[in-house]
Symmetry: D2
Subunit: 374 residues, 4 copies
């Protein structure tokens, strides 16, 4: 299974940046899930380019559901969503076709696909292919939301601008998640949004690019989801996150900070809370012990590297002549992708979780109205 993920709910994606149509097939959904198409549109909107901090390519990204959906509900058969590309500027790519963009997939695609790849706009490697991922994620997020499970991400770092992590207080965290899901630029504070936006705009002006770190939290997940080998919650989520172009690191809980702690500092003590629920007084493990959820919020961070396509002159090779050369790209590119990747990360986490939930409770769980987190 190359372009498909999942054991119970599966997502297959297809398409190229400048092809006619991109899309995905979501299979294994329960019948009878009411879908809110406005929510789907809102999710698509959050992924869109906007302002001076994004590419000038403005796609409408209208999602057509062509199967598996009838009278407002999922049918239980494969749900296919199509998005038609509309504003391709393919000729931008002709002149530099054989000049491999450093840190982009041009060279690896050339080797892997033996020169037959659709090179226009990055083809199948384009960030554009994350649009159907967001559409699939929007379906999964609706399913989770009905169960009281909510996902949100914010930029905890953008270049050298740092924002405080999510709150440790579940009540406050819940509000933060909901706020992030309403915002176009996912900073917790207005000040940080301005600073980060300024950093990106500055990079754009200089023909350069920047990256950042996303922090993601999930509330409402009950204990008992996931597997020790080889389907740990961390395995499933990281598998999907590392399919997002530009993500180069993923950590759960305090992640790499574990390395400098003693066990006595790192361990999360269990306690009974006032309501009789098992909690941990710290959440260094990010809600996961032994690959399985423990009922605390899932917390993870992923790093998004600076966009590989920059306007500054770069050294590279010509893949036709196999000689050294210089590259000056044209075309429309994002000076940063981290703020748009945010909704893709949320989508991927939702896809992983719905698959894990379906394993635990059966796929008909998706349509039940009871809240699993009770």
């Amino acid at each position: 299974m190359k372009s498909t993920f999942g054991n119970h709910v599966t997502v297959s994606i297809f398409g190229e940046s400048h092809g006619q149509t991109i899309g995905c097939v979501v299979d294994g959904l329960a019948p009878g899930i009411r879908l809110d198409l406005d929510y789907l549109r809102a999710e698509m909107e959050k992924r869109k380019a906007f302002g001076r901090i994004s590419t000038a390519r403005q796609e409408k990204d209208e999602v057509e559901i062509v199967s598996g959906f009838f009278n407002g509900y999922t049918t239980g058969t494969p749900l296919c969503m199509l998005i038609h590309n509309q504003v391709q500027h393919s000729k931008d790519y002709e002149a530099t076709r054989y000049k491999a963009r450093p840190s982009h997939a041009d060279y690896t695609a050339q080797v892997k696909y033996l020169g037959y790849q659709d090179y226009r706009g990055g083809g199948h490697f384009s960030g554009r292919i994350t649009a159907p991922v967001v559409a699939a994620g929007a379906i999964c997020r609706q399913i989770l939301a009905q169960k009281g499970i909510h996902i949100g991400s914010h930029l905890v770092q953008c270049k050298n601008v740092y924002e405080d992590p999510f709150s440790q207080d579940v009540q406050v965290l819940t509000e933060q998640i909901h706020m992030m899901n309403r915002k176009r630029f996912a900073a917790l504070s207005e000040d940080k949004e301005k600073e980060m936006t300024a950093v990106i705009e500055q990079a754009a002006q200089e023909g350069d690019s920047v990256g950042g770190v996303l922090e993601t939290a999930v509330i409402g997940v009950p204990a008992g989801i996931g597997e020790p080998f080889f389907q740990s919650v961390e395995s499933e989520i990281s598998h999907l996150l590392f399919s997002i172009p530009a993500i180069k690191g993923v950590e759960f809980g305090i992640g790499f900070a574990f390395a400098d702690l003693f066990g006595s500092e790192a361990n999360d003590p269990f306690r009974m809370d006032a309501a009789g629920k098992v909690i941990t007084t710290t959440n260094h493990n990010g809600g996961i012990n032994g690959g399985i959820t423990n009922g605390m919020p899932i917390v993870l961070r992923s790093v998004v590297k600076p966009t590989a396509s920059i306007y500054k002159t770069q050294q590279t090779i010509d893949m036709q002549t196999m000689e050294n050369t210089e590259l000056n790209i044209v075309g429309r590119h994002d000076p940063a992708i981290v703020h748009r990747a945010r909704v893709v990360v949320d989508a991927m986490v939702a896809i992983a979780l719905v698959d894990l939930f379906a394993d635990r409770y059966g796929y008909l769980w998706m349509r039940e109205e009871t809240c699993v987190s009770d």
Copy 2:
């Protein structure tokens, strides 16, 4: 597929820490691979507990290959390896059976398996279950070595002791990898080995534990292996690494350090080297672009948290009475697992790569004697 990984070469594992036998099945191997059982034994040896920096449980870990192996060669049918447990002290676990060890899987296992799990010695969650992973990895490493592909890891951090990363020079890196594979404790320098050992021993004396960061490098991998969605090299490797108990973060290349760089600093320029091979002058991306290998060394880091089982008194809950309580564990536990996890990480990376290679070249590739990296 819960306990099985792989699309072409699959590894299934089974067993519990105090069960009779643990093991794995490796399927999809080519026929005619000559196996060096001394190499297999040497790999098993590297995972074993030793000295004061490990648990007192000393298992022989003799591997019996009971199928798929005939007259010194793989047959091409499923290869099953068994390891018989011999020195279980199960009674150590009775007194604290219902007291959930903080940051361990006791509580999540109780919820997931509804109380039916084998709780003795951590059961299926024990680090002991990584023994068959190392055995499977030893098969895969032999296959890769015949093609000139070598994997090695060292402790780039153990608590507050830091060692320099692997060399950027491929020649030097090759020597470092081979040296690590001969050593029991994977530090590049003798000094750092002493310092790290001292830190672990100190923690052991205090009834505490420490963690660390492993840096892993792979040389000899040709360009063109991996998939953009959803089987990127990063996805496959991280999926497996996050199945190793205690690993909480994985990053490729410079990983989280990408967040503070401009694209113009981060991008790895392509060049033709003197031998006519495509290289990059830096390797910030750790040998992977767009999920696909680019021919440079694969470089990644994974963080291993401090062992959850410590001898200090901890706060926790009693899972039978659902009340707060204190835990004072007995039994035999590792004051650090990071130095033993090293060979498990190597094994997992080998498993992921053999699977990806088999996808690219077909499974009969495994037995060919030609070197793919030429």
Copy 3:
């Protein structure tokens, strides 16, 4: 994986009879396969309804390839094909919506999908969903044909009209297969075509339906493809054939006739032929021993039941009131499906074989121009 088949080359299908668009995604194809779109159209043509022996619903079945195909060649990324439904008469299904057609999937769909299924025209259960299967099969058949592997089927029985089986002589068989692939109605002789057509037309006039048996042969498959457990050639092919609506039996070689033979009669003696190739002097096993091809033609038969939708009054239940009732259907239905199912069977066999070949030789095998059967 519910709606996806394959380990190396995977086919996912989606769509409903009266939905907007049906289609499939074929993943795992090698890059650089030249596709002949005229051949694709010709295959689609063979599945179409025609004459008085088929439904009156006449769909154009134009296939749009929207991804994975660039400048005449496959790219190696997922290839998505779309077919837009055009002549739905959905109101035909309103009056009898809750009356379960005997032997059709109306009742089982109602139970499985909890009433949320798209019931119009049989929805996802319609024979219409085999159109994308034929499209996927047309891709696979082109790949096989380049290697000298050819598939053909004929009606060895239609109601009480029987035709001689394929020739045992490979030379003659080859001609028969090519002839079948040019014909719209797959009878070896003109006489039998007339007789079979007459039987179907007679059933149509009476508002009834008939079925039949298809014999399928594949030439050019080398020895060594398939697996003993659980991916035998018979397992893979039967898995796909039993997904075709109306197929209720599959046998390989002489199939059920084995039951009345002694081993000494049934066994196929091996011999070296004049060209130094291993053959068997009989082919009772249909080219497969122990789940693996032996180099002889693959021969199999599948039975297609009479179309469930007939115009005669039938006894059934009302799924809303849960009471007994009578059913008089309207709408457009085939008096026989066996002659149209022929090309679907060919497609399914092609899909299974390409997947098995890719396992054996790696997916890049698909694009090589050398003939595997040499």
Copy 4:
């Protein structure tokens, strides 16, 4: 996945006829299933050779459960079962090692495994490898039995001796199934058992072999299990049955007899029964419509060819010299396998059904004590 089957509950098998140990891993079982080891032993007993109608090789077939089982219950982690071979006569195979037994897998194994296969006793192709299948089936049958789902098979044909099919009356059928599960030789009547036994003994005396047809029925399966594409109940069951050595045909309901019926004769009318349950007045479709169960008994037939290993002189080739030769086998072989294959068929059907049920209801369904068929 070559040697693994299943999406939710997976069975992996390994081993060779004359290897040290054969076995299987069953993964995806719910925790808390109480296993009756006497039942397991009784199932193994039914597969054993006995009397003059079977091979002289008498294995004890004691099953060791080494993981996933604790204090009488499944734990929910992978359950591994081992069977140690004890009475191999490997030297019987040396003299004829390169002489390919007609209709056996010797030649295809030689090609597929490039000569590295374990050829002793048929290696991985031996009927012996069905012993772990029966063990896995015994687990699955216990799960199903708790839900009121029972499987049974009988020999509806053995060479030229025919027995009446199972009763159409569910009450009588239930008794027949239970009777078959108590009997060693699965004939419904004592007379037929004698006649069939005599036919097999006669073939044994002549150094020949015979085959037959098994009819299998399953009662208690509710409507709504299975998928239209590509996981139809027929697809899943046939996939597994065609992995059993010697099975060459599978049909559901009246199978190939559909070909000579009009739709008006073939269709199964729906009715409400006295208890308010939906039934069909005939069961030509064998309990499956559109790939999904309809609540009627599942009925299927599979043909088992005569054992390929016969003592009569046969024409074949020498795989070393690639010349024509004659074969006179020694060793211990079954004059018929159909009566022993019966319990393997039951096991395979059970495995397929548990997997399909787990998909529908989630894997925790396995442990619930309520009866799904109510």
